[in-house]
Symmetry: C2
Subunit: 298 residues, 2 copies
């Protein structure tokens, strides 16, 4: 069973539960959408950061892990076009780890939180066999303006922000700017806010474009053709750009007549392809692109 | 460094971050409080359930773990007097565990969610070295009506719902109704809602009354005297009742002239003591009560 099928089975459980009228959108997008009042919607997301999967204690300092834990969730807010409101931080650490490490984690997380003005409103602390953090972020968007994965249409053009493959390259090299980029991803909040008025759909690139674009196609019931060169990070290969995860750039679509600037809140945008009618899937240079991104349950 | 000091140091980080005007109450209570609109406040809480700390795969079936993961967070909503709105479920499981286990977890969680009508709106799935679940719950209360830990006053009477020590007894015996009670705690949502109009402060009993009552005293700057017998579960000892965690009953205080019924939403209430002016702490039968509840960072 792959992750996507597992999520379907969880959606089946979710559908047996009465849905509160405030909840507009549940499982399946970067965030769920809640409307407590007309005028403003709240979006919610939660993301794990797990030792030996997303980082190791040898290569990442506590401040790096704290940064990354919050950055992953903020990136999901960016994907919805949301502005940060507050976060809850759950952190489990092994007994052997000094509490200095915990303080470093919160220092790294706090520095990013100050930059994005997201309140640290609560959380949980526990002991576990290895380090696990789970950060829940709440963001806000004008009612009905949240960017979704499911609203792209055939004919829409496909774009990405920034450069791809840098995180995968950094993970391989373990030095230089690519490594820093891997350890300290930058959530595209400001770009996401601007995209509210120009994108037809959006998501963030956390698991590699081959998998993430496939997910967007599945949710929107379209197929994608990548027909232009990817904006690769310097030194990154095509494989890094197509299948490397954790770039935390935004993948978005826009109607062909939408005016998408080449720079958005200081970040480059690149048109990489077009959506077509047809069975959900991705073609690259005319051939089907195998889904090789990071699927937790493959 | 004890958990309470660690939380203070995290509060210090939180205070360096601008607080969104929607966030009324941050770290330090069972839930944070958010006011997206006048008239209704939202409360948020998140709780870990961790293999070999809160359960073992040998003694707990997947449905038990799913039940408990949601019940712990729902209990925090009950402590605020909140009604459930939605939850986000983060679940990490080792590769060796069959996906059938994951399906069982969601079945157990889903059954409890249906009973309490809380939407399953999203979450995260990942692989880890052992099972960790982190469940975030959102609840709602009329504006300003959330029950807090910090609002008790000297002279208030101290009450608990239900019976104490049953969970600790169950954990020791591993059979019978106490064991079932340990595995399938029942969140006191309906009692919490009724307490909104009669309690001066409330919290849930997750870590044992010696620690939890101490926390309430610290937040309200009062001292507590337990001067009446605890309502012990059948077969439970004084130690189970005073220091045993995971009863998930409500601990609450009320003004001396408040009319607290002896049964609240089908659950017994028992007056166990009184709050006095003085340095935060708990006395039991005239002597200082050592804090021996479950402190993750002792």
């Amino acid at each position: 069973m792959r992750e996507i099928e597992l999520i379907r089975s969880i959606q089946n459980v979710a559908q047996t539960i009465p849905v509160d009228r405030r909840v507009l959108e549940g499982i399946g997008d970067d965030c769920c959408i809640v409307r407590p009042k007309p005028g403003e919607d709240l979006v919610f997301t939660t993301d794990f950061v797990i030792e030996n999967r997303h980082f190791t204690l040898e290569t990442h300092r506590a401040v790096d892990v704290g940064h990354k834990a919050l950055a992953r969730s903020l990136s999901d807010l960016a994907a919805m076009g949301a502005e940060p409101v507050f976060c809850l931080v759950s952190l489990a650490v092994p007994e052997a780890l000094a509490l200095k490490w915990v303080a470093g984690f919160y220092r790294g997380l706090g520095a990013l939180a100050r930059r994005f003005e997201i309140s640290l409103a609560g959380g949980d602390l526990a002991r576990a066999e290895s380090v696990i953090a789970d950060v829940m972020c709440c963001g806000r968007v004008p009612s009905g303006k949240a960017l979704r994965r499911s609203t792209a249409r055939p004919g829409d053009l496909i774009y990405v922000t920034g450069e791809l493959g840098g995180s995968a390259l950094g993970l391989r090299k373990k030095r230089g700017s690519a490594w820093l980029r891997h350890k300290r991803p930058e959530p595209r909040i400001a770009a996401g806010v601007l995209l509210r008025s120009m994108a037809s759909a959006a998501m963030d690139l956390s698991d590699g474009i081959s998998l993430d674009l496939f997910r967007l196609c599945t949710e929107s019931q379209v197929r994608a053709e990548i027909d232009a060169p990817l904006p690769l990070a310097r030194g990154a290969t095509d494989v890094d750009g197509l299948h490397g995860g954790e770039d935390y750039e935004l993948l978005f679509t826009a109607r062909p007549n939408a005016e998408v600037p080449t720079v958005l809140a200081g970040v480059r945008t690149t048109r990489i392809g077009v959506l077509k009618r047809g069975k959900p899937g991705v073609r690259y240079g005319g051939d089907p692109l195998p889904v090789r991104g990071f699927d937790h349950f493959l």
